[in-house]
Amino acid sequence: MDYFIHIAIIVSIYAILGLSLNLIVGYTGLLSMTQAAFYGIGAYATAILMTSVGMNFFLSLALGALITGVASILIGIVLSRFRDDYYALGSFGFNVIVWSIFLNWQELTRGPLGIPGIKRPELFGFALDGNSSFLILSMCFALIAYLACEFISASSFGRVLKAIREDEEAIRVFGYKTHLYKLAIFVIGAVMAGIAGALFASYITFIDPSTFSLNESIFILAIIIMGGLASNKGAVLGALFLVLLPEALRFVGFPSDIAAQMRQAVYGLILIFLMLYRPEGMMGEYRL
């Protein structure tokens, strides 16, 4: 049972990440590869505040989200000067920069040694030590993230984002300051990713730079492509599918000598097959 609960927690965390990136890529059409960086900033901020300062989880999470928000404003202002492919490349570069900071700023992050001993949350003196209680916490955050994304996408703000995605020049002609909308949604997405990072750090109780590399950004992008762009339900389903699929493949009876490699190959083939027959993803509104 603990195994299922563990998977559910990981799905919740990735659902938040998928929802956060979906706001930026799916609704606004900005191909951002920085989500793992914000995931990492949230995780590291929370981990450092909890282990070095002794702060409780919820306060660390709030401060971690704030720090992630500030970082995203600075990064977003620079990225807003780019468009299309250059935006993607610029965001790629920022992810690498942030990851390098995690790896090299040893006085703050302990570099490759990572930060161990991160505690589980405590709420009114009650420790959420067990996986079951942590699952409730992570699902609450995932639900809040989902509802927030639904609210944003249905609001007039969300309609402007979709208009930017479809034709930014046209919406600008109507007097909308599109760079401010883009920056706003970038920051909202980043803060959500930071919250996911805080949850991850406290759940695994150890973080290191390798978790927040460019590969992780690509994985989060794959979640929303698989789930379907501009669909909040799709982002959640994409997280469910991409987290569950490799776990399901653990049980397929490949010969032990090649089991690991076969799982990777089958995983890749399934993704290719699904993209061939449903390129807009499970519930997507449009293709990249």
């Binding site: 998977i7 109780t205 290191d208 699929l245 032990s256 799982r263």
Partner: protein, 372 residues
């Protein structure tokens, strides 16, 4: 395709996971001993994980052919940790749910760190092959196997000082926990050290070697992992810089692939340390492994296989005085085991750190020679 198709696909995957879990034989019973092993079987570190797992399988086969432990068979369950914290935790949770192993074995620091809390909560002892001590210090169920980078590198540098091996020392290291620990040991022995760090997986050493040479550093310390030594020595040969190398461990630093890639002049005088017995590469284990896996003989695979084999033999010795499923007894027993059938010169644990006999070595005329 309709959206309902995708809902069905996801449900199928969920059912597969659940069905697979239910179908797994639930062990940890009175009838068999079980070991759960989480090693990287894919990705960059599979070159270590795969032979390590082969060594473990060889040991388990030997034990079972000899009648098992206390007449009961030993089962070994592998999961691919992919050298990822999240995947290792998933693997640990899956093994505990499906098989509830008596003891675990985890390769490398990062996965062991990530899964440490899972093992502590489940009160499962685990051997973690790691060059640093960080997991052992934080978890009473952890037993560290493998070379201790901090003390080993300190001893190496102190020995190099007695031989006036260098005028100016540098470290040329990947940003990894084991090199970080080695660096701490180097600093204990030599306070004036130039630092040259690279990202694990980098293929270019020429830029850093150029900096080393122009800074006047004449010897560098590092712990490389295959294929880093092949690239490093080849590029050092190409550049022709007179930089000496101090590395750990000997068998992971210079092996047949490295000898093919570099020149004898480049390798001559390399200083190292190892825990493998003198005649290890002529041993029955080495010969049998190379016969079984002829395509791995140019790499330090046999060393990794020996480490995996040794871990299982250590676990077996601890299990002898315990019933199957009694993880608490195995934890106590691991603390005191001294009579394990070791092929790497280990003698149990001291304060949960593997007790290894180290030998200083220098590479001369095409082979490693003991210097003490």
């Amino acid at each position: 395709m309709k959206k309902s198709f995708w809902i069905i696909v996801i449900l199928v995957v969920v059912v597969l996971v659940g069905y697979g879990l239910m179908r797994q034989k639930k062990n940890g019973t009175a009838e068999e001993y079980t070991i759960g092993a989480i090693v990287p079987l894919s990705g960059n570190t599979a070159s270590v994980g795969v032979p390590f797992s082969e060594g473990m399988k060889i040991a388990v086969d030997e034990i079972n052919e000899a009648g098992g432990i206390n007449g009961k068979p030993v089962y070994l369950y592998f999961q691919d940790g992919e050298f990822s914290g999240t995947k290792t935790v998933s693997a640990a949770e899956q093994l505990i749910s499906a098989h509830n192993p008596d003891v675990f074995d985890v390769l490398f620091n990062l996965p062991a760190q990530a899964a440490s809390s899972v093992f502590r909560n489940a009160e499962k002892p685990f051997l973690e092959w790691d060059y640093s001590r960080s997991v052992v210090d934080a978890n009473p169920f952890a037993f560290k196997t493998g070379f201790d980078a901090k003390t080993g590198c300190e001893e190496l540098v102190r020995y190099a000082q007695t031989r006036h091996y260098y005028k100016k020392l540098g470290v040329l290291m990947s940003k990894t926990p084991y090199n970080q620990s080695c660096f701490e040991g180097v600093k204990n022995a030599e306070s004036n050290v130039n630092e040259y760090w690279y990202t694990f997986g980098s293929e270019d050493f020429k830029t850093l070697l150029g900096k080393v040479y122009h800074d006047g550093v004449d010897a560098v310390v590092l712990i490389p992992i295959d294929p880093e030594p092949v690239r490093l020595f080849k590029q050092l040969r190409d550049l022709g810089y007179p930089i000496k190398v101090i590395c750990a461990t000997a068998s992971e630093c210079i092996y047949p692939s490295v000898e093919s890639a570099a020149s004898p002049k480049t390798l001559e005088g390399t200083l190292s340390v190892d825990f493998l017995p003198k005649d290890f590469f002529q041993s029955e284990f080495s010969r049998a492994f190379e016969e079984k896996f002829p395509n791995q003989k140019d790499h330090p695979s046999v060393t990794w296989a020996a480490l995996g084999y040794n871990d299982v033999m250590t676990i077996m010795s601890a299990m002898k005085s315990c019933d199957p499923g009694d993880s608490k007894c195995i934890t106590r027993s691991l603390n005191t085991v001294k009579d394990a059938s070791s092929i790497i010169g280990s003698n149990g644990f001291q304060d949960r750190i593997q007790d290894l006999t180290l030998r200083m070595q220098i590479y001369e005329k095409g082979k490693w020679v003991d210097v003490e």
